[in-house]
Assembly symmetry: C2
Homo-oligomer: 138 residues x 2
């Protein structure tokens, strides 16, 4: 029973619902930096939410070098299929900006791969060197 509760808890967050919707609408695996730019949420939080979804069995992971691609699970489990169906019925009008932003990112893929990293640099973790014109550094 706890695994079902864990799945519902994984779905009880706006960011995670947006992530699942992006995966559904994009129809392709996405990496953390694509989610980061599309959702406009800091990379470390995107990573966290992806981990929660993975632990709940809702998404799967494919690593390519240092890139990690996330996809909707392809499980045929009836419960999971019904959950996926429910998510598909969340009106896409609520996620227009997400869809628009992910399309932008997918348009700059090369050979179906992400090569740009995070474009919206303010969403990277602070320990990364953020290119600035002068200003404070740690």
């Amino acid at each position: 029973m706890q695994e079902y509760i864990e799945i519902f808890k994984a779905l009880s967050d706006e960011t995670r619902l947006r992530i699942l919707n992006l995966l559904h609408s994009a129809q392709t695996a996405l990496c953390v930096c694509e989610f980061t730019d599309a959702l406009e949420i800091p990379q470390y939080n995107v990573s966290r939410h992806l981990k929660i979804l993975r632990n709940a069995g809702l998404i799967t992971v494919r690593k390519e070098g240092r890139w990690v691609y996330f996809s909707l699970s392809t499980s045929s489990d009836s419960f999971y299929q019904a959950i996926l169906e429910a998510i598909k019925h969340i009106p896409s009008t609520l996620l227009l900006k997400d869809h628009k932003e992910i399309d932008k990112r997918l348009n700059v893929r090369i050979d179906g791969k992400c090569l740009l990293g995070i474009q919206k640099k303010h969403l990277q973790g602070k320990s990364k060197p953020i290119p600035t014109t002068g200003g404070l550094t740690k």
Copy 2:
């Protein structure tokens, strides 16, 4: 988007999942005391969880005098239908005791109505006179 999150949050609790499963398997409206006996959870907590489910639009209420009967929503909304489908796919083997206990309660209904109140008296609120052989009273 918040309404979908609220629904998933309503589903993120074991007691509320058991309540929905009881309503699904019983195929009839149930009252608080029937839930209380079947789930073996204090009446005031059953009442609380029922309120959360009602606020999320997952169940509906019918009052008959001082009795309140709760039913699964009959909404035709696609999202809701998919959620209900998911709940139906939670293995009933996980809820055998609940099913057995609710059958007991339904068997003592008269004309389809609950007339007994809570049978497991330790689950009533403490401010009620609990029949005891001696012992402390407030």
